[in-house]
């Protein structure tokens, strides 16, 4: 008796075999193929035991809360959203990046092409470095405050972290923009830290406004466990060094002045 191939048995199992009836008849008569199918079934059954985390009964509401302010920008009236004060800072950075690149291009146009490109890149990097540095500073301050938060009295049953939660929501939006920009700029290291920061901000933004001391401790442990504060500080320090390195030097400007004459 010719046995079924593995491909035929998988196709049969998934209900996409061209000859379902033929395979079914064969299986009824062939113990070996039934055994083979059982082994495939066992693996698939094991995979079915992989858990999917339960996002919570209010997950739909949380998704809505996250996306509702962003719907306008997707419907064509994008400028409404960008007029929100909290978005203006991030929008400003992007506009500055474009303008800076344009201005750098104009200023350096008569020079050598490779110098122009290098200058444009320097200006773009400097703007990004300054903006992300500020963003990391704000994030660090919020996380430090949250890490140091304590219940005001021993009898206090809940701690209000709504202020930190709102700041985390704002920082989250900015963080996404900066992470995407860092990726586009090919800065994988920075993008990676921003990605980690995003997870922490997401956790804080999704926390309840009032938490029990135990819940607060759990949030603080998460921040501490991920070592995010340390990473943010290190990257911020690196950015400051990069900022120093990309500052135009005295000799550069002197040389430019000399060339003008």
């Amino acid at each position: 008796m010719k046995h079924m191939s593995e491909e035929e048995l998988i196709a049969y199992r998934e209900g996409v075999a061209e000859q379902q009836a033929v395979i079914s008849r064969h299986l009824a008569a062939c113990e070996e193929c039934r055994g083979e199918l059982d082994r495939i079934e066992a693996v698939l059954a094991a995979l079915d035991t992989l858990p999917v985390p339960e996002p919570g009964a209010d997950y739909g509401r949380r998704v809505w809360r996250e996306i509702a302010p962003r719907l306008a920008e997707r419907s064509g009236r994008w400028w409404h959203v960008w007029m929100e004060p909290r978005r203006l800072a991030a929008a400003g950075v992007i506009v500055t990046l474009i303008v800076a690149a344009f201005v750098a291009g104009r200023i350096t146009r008569p020079g050598k092409t490779s110098d122009n490109i290098a200058n444009q890149e320097q200006v773009r990097e400097r703007v990004l470095v300054v903006a992300v540095g500020e963003h990391l500073g704000h994030s660090e301050r919020m996380l430090v405050e949250l890490s140091n938060a304590t219940p005001t009295g021993p009898t206090e049953k809940e701690v209000n972290i709504s202020a930190e939660q709102r700041r985390a929501e704002d920082l989250l939006q900015e963080n996404r923009l900066y992470r995407q920009t860092a990726l586009q700029e090919g800065d994988a290291g920075l993008a990676s830290v921003l990605d980690e920061l995003e997870r922490v901000l997401l956790d804080v933004a999704h926390s309840p406004e009032e938490v029990t001391p135990a819940q607060l401790e759990a949030i603080q442990k998460k921040i501490e466990g991920r070592g995010i504060l340390f990473k943010v500080r290190v990257v911020n320090k690196e950015l400051q060094q990069r900022q120093e390195a990309t500052k135009p030097t005295q000799s550069d400007s002197t040389e430019r002045e000399r060339n003008k004459v």
Partner: protein, 218 residues
């Protein structure tokens, strides 16, 4: 009224209510979209989690799927049902997200020596030489780890095809549309995914079954 009939009627009610919510959203009532988001978020999250393998990315996929759904709602009109449609958008974005994540990781990690000849990348070559002893396996935890690794080792297309077909019960045509592939090629992708998972996991599944059998004997 039997259970089947009740279920058909409740599905029908959801479809009708989805259609009304879509219509109202298109008429300019933004809050009508909320009904759709709250109703379908859990299902989309489940798909996204199984495709991306982590909660953070899954949540991003869910949000982006509903944002894109809102943006493209006019294209949806009365086609199929909203749940299936937003599902497809989520699957597409999850593929993009997985590719982006791989690029990020590739940039971070220097190529390892054993990866250079491509051997390490083939999950068929990751099958252990011999099944570990039941003692060494802390059973379900070890199996779970192996399953997560085996799923992560599938290509984006294989993982998408497997998740959509096996766990979400999607039709081959629907998966083919997401993968931008033909039906036959999609069937082959499903087949390859199951084959790779089997190669990687069967030794562990068998070891687990043997250990359970020994446990019940003693």
């Amino acid at each position: 009224m039997n259970r089947m009939q009740k279920s058909v009627e409740s599905t029908q009610a959801i479809l009708e209510s989805d259609a009304i919510a879509v219509e109202r959203t298109l008429a300019g009532d933004r809050d009508a979209y909320r009904v759709l988001v709250e109703r379908h978020s859990h299902n989309v999250f489940r798909l996204a989690y199984r495709m991306t393998g982590n909660r953070h990315d899954a949540e991003e996929v869910v949000q982006e799927a509903f944002l894109r759904g809102y943006q493209k709602l006019r294209q949806f009109a009365a086609r199929s049902n909203f749940g299936t449609w937003v599902y497809r958008i989520a699957a597409n974005y999850a593929i993009d997200r997985m590719r982006q994540r791989q690029k990020e990781e590739a940039r971070r990690e220097a190529p390892r020596a054993e990866d250079r000849d491509g051997m390490e990348n083939d999950p068929l070559n990751r099958v252990p030489d011999e099944a570990p002893t039941p003692e060494r396996l802390t059973q379900s935890m070890e199996l779970r780890k192996q399953m997560e690794q085996a799923l992560a080792a599938l290509s984006d297309a294989e993982r998408t095809a497997f998740v959509m077909r096996h766990w979400e019960g999607c039709g081959i045509e629907e998966i083919a549309e997401v993968l931008k592939s033909s039906s036959n090629a999609t069937k082959n992708t499903v087949f390859r995914a199951v084959q790779k998972l089997r190669r990687a996991l069967q030794p562990f599944v068998e070891t687990g079954a043997q250990a359970r059998a020994m446990g019940t004997e003693s």
